[in-house]
């Protein structure tokens, strides 16, 4: 293989495809990092909320709802679900001494249940909604399916949108303030417990949105929640808990590491590498690349 061939057929597509995967990972990690940064809750059922989003999209599409409408409808439907989960499961144990561990355990139990319920409702077989935007485009000999191109753009738009809300609006300032200093924020009039529930629901809604967007590429099945979760946790830790930019940088970086590493070593070892990175960060830089949003 000539060097040009290698560049065109191997290296460049690898980078571009890694980017698409990176966007997918960032989408899943986004809600996770916001919930973690804000509430200090490790949501072990985040993957299952992602699955719920995908299944909801599948079911609603079957009922005739168009894809574009789903992009709005599913996250909106997820919000009350997230609110209810926060109220019923997180809040009762939120005040306990071992909040980290108890919330982790409770959401772990929730994940088990959701996975099984999805199987009961939708069956065990893999399903896949049709690709909303078919076809592929070629640039400089790199082929990229249009939907992936769309995903990269929409992913970027979502990240920017979320970042705008969090970093540029009064609402975002309220959320960040409540994360940093619950009491002080409340004394300035921030309705803290509503903000907490809202943030959890927002994270859940983002997971659902990721489900809608990724279902056509990664297909839908009851155990799909476990798919991205380890990678997403890694992204959250490496990027810095609660940091949106951290999640973006870490998500894109780690998927590139994974993509490029798989060129030189057996792909199976890419998992240990990614994981090793997470361990290394936890040990040597536990605040991650960008520090954290707050410490509620």
């Amino acid at each position: 293989m000539t060097a040009i061939d290698y560049l065109q057929f191997v290296l460049a597509p690898q980078v571009v495809n890694g980017l698409a995967l990176g966007v997918a990972v960032v989408l899943v990690a986004l809600g996770l990092t916001i919930i973690f940064g804000m509430l200090d809750v490790i949501n072990m059922s985040h993957g299952e909320f992602y699955a719920i989003g995908a299944y909801a999209a599948l079911a609603l599409a079957a009922a005739g709802v168009g894809f574009w409408f789903l992009l709005v409808l599913v996250p909106v439907l997820m919000i009350p679900l997230g609110m209810a989960a926060e109220r019923l499961l997180i809040r009762p144990v939120f005040g306990s001494k071992d909040r980290h561990v108890t919330t982790l355990l409770v959401t772990f139990g929730l994940g088990l249940i959701v996975e099984d319920v999805l199987k009961i409702i939708f069956g065990a077989n893999t399903q896949r909604p049709p690709t909303p935007i078919p076809g592929a485009s070629e640039m400089f000999g790199i082929i990229l399916p249009n939907y992936r191109l769309f995903l990269i753009l929409v992913g970027a738009a979502i990240v920017l949108g979320v970042a705008y809300v969090v970093y540029r609006t009064r609402l975002g300032a309220m959320v960040r303030a409540a994360a940093f200093d619950r009491n002080m924020a409340a004394s300035l009039g921030v309705p803290v417990s509503l903000v907490y529930a809202g943030t959890f629901a927002f994270g859940v809604g983002l997971a659902g949105l990721a489900g809608v967007l990724l279902a056509p590429i990664y297909s839908v099945f009851p155990t799909m929640g476990r798919d991205f979760i380890l990678l997403a946790f890694t992204v959250v830790i490496v990027g810095g808990m609660g940091s949106i930019w951290g999640a973006v940088v870490a998500g894109l970086l780690l998927t590139q590491v994974q993509a490029l590493a798989s060129l030189v070593i057996s792909p199976v070892w890419t998992d240990p590498i990614v994981f090793g990175t997470m361990v290394a960060f936890l040990v040597f830089r536990p605040q991650g690349l960008f520090g954290r949003l707050g410490h509620a």
Partner: protein, 235 residues
């Protein structure tokens, strides 16, 4: 009108506030003095709702505040400038200020803008640094920001805890000028301060707290009361 009667509160197991009564009218500045650890800060925290009172009543203009959450207390017209200023680290000066606006509901964004611009006019240094992170300001500027953050909400009662702590004398004077402005707006001010001399220059009346109880109350202008005060907290 602020009425605090027979207030008790606990911090963990320790019985910090052991029956305190305070009354104040609009435009009054009340100094709260006493040595460290006697419960002055806890008193303010109890009024602000950070610590739940275990007994007693807090009423502001006839409205009961005791037992409410801090955000409800804020909306009832209480502003709190706590010790250490508590500027949100990840927020810009402007964002810190904008949170103060939450206290007044239903203000148009144009009004809000005017209020904020008014603050920048009054505190040029905040205006210059409006897009910087609040925590990058100097101690004095942070104290100004913390007070401005409360000012924009037009509170009826302002709780201020140790505003001059760690600040240079010139800035302390500025801080107390702000306290006077707040008073002129008609707010009731409860001022906890170690810098007795400065505090007495703005206060109308004062209370001395010891082990969670008021042991002496006096007028700031009354020389005898002042002498008694100095004796009580003298080294």
């Amino acid at each position: 009108m602020l009425q605090i009667s027979a207030l008790h509160s606990h911090y963990g197991l320790s019985h910090v506030i052991q029956g305190i009564d305070i009354e104040a009218a609009p435009g009054e500045v009340i100094g709260i003095f006493g040595r460290n650890g006697v419960g002055k800060t806890t008193l303010l925290k109890t009024i602000a709702g950070w610590v739940k009172p275990s007994q007693g009543a807090i009423r502001l203009g006839g409205e009961a505040l005791d037992g409410l959450t801090p955000d409800r207390i804020c909306h009832a017209g209480v502003g709190f400038v706590p010790e250490d200023r508590r500027i949100f680290p990840g927020l810009t000066v402007e964002e810190n200020l904008s949170l103060g606006l939450l206290q007044v509901k239903g203000r148009s964004s144009r009004d809000e803008k005017r209020v904020v611009e008014g603050i920048y006019d009054r505190f040029h240094r905040l205006g210059e640094r409006r897009h910087q992170l609040g925590t990058t300001l100097s101690g004095g500027e942070q104290q100004m920001l913390a007070m401005a953050r409360v000012m924009v909400g037009k509170p009826r009662l302002v709780l201020i805890d140790e505003p001059s702590e760690g600040l240079a004398p010139m800035i302390v004077a500025e801080i107390f000028a702000i306290v006077r402005e707040l008073r002129e707006q008609g707010a009731i001010i409860l001022l906890v301060e170690q810098n007795i001399h400065e505090a007495l220059s703005v206060a109308d009346r004062f209370h001395v707290v010891e082990r969670g109880q008021i042991v002496f109350s006096g007028e700031a202008e009354n020389a005898g009361d002042r002498e008694r005060l100095l004796k009580l907290i003298a080294v």
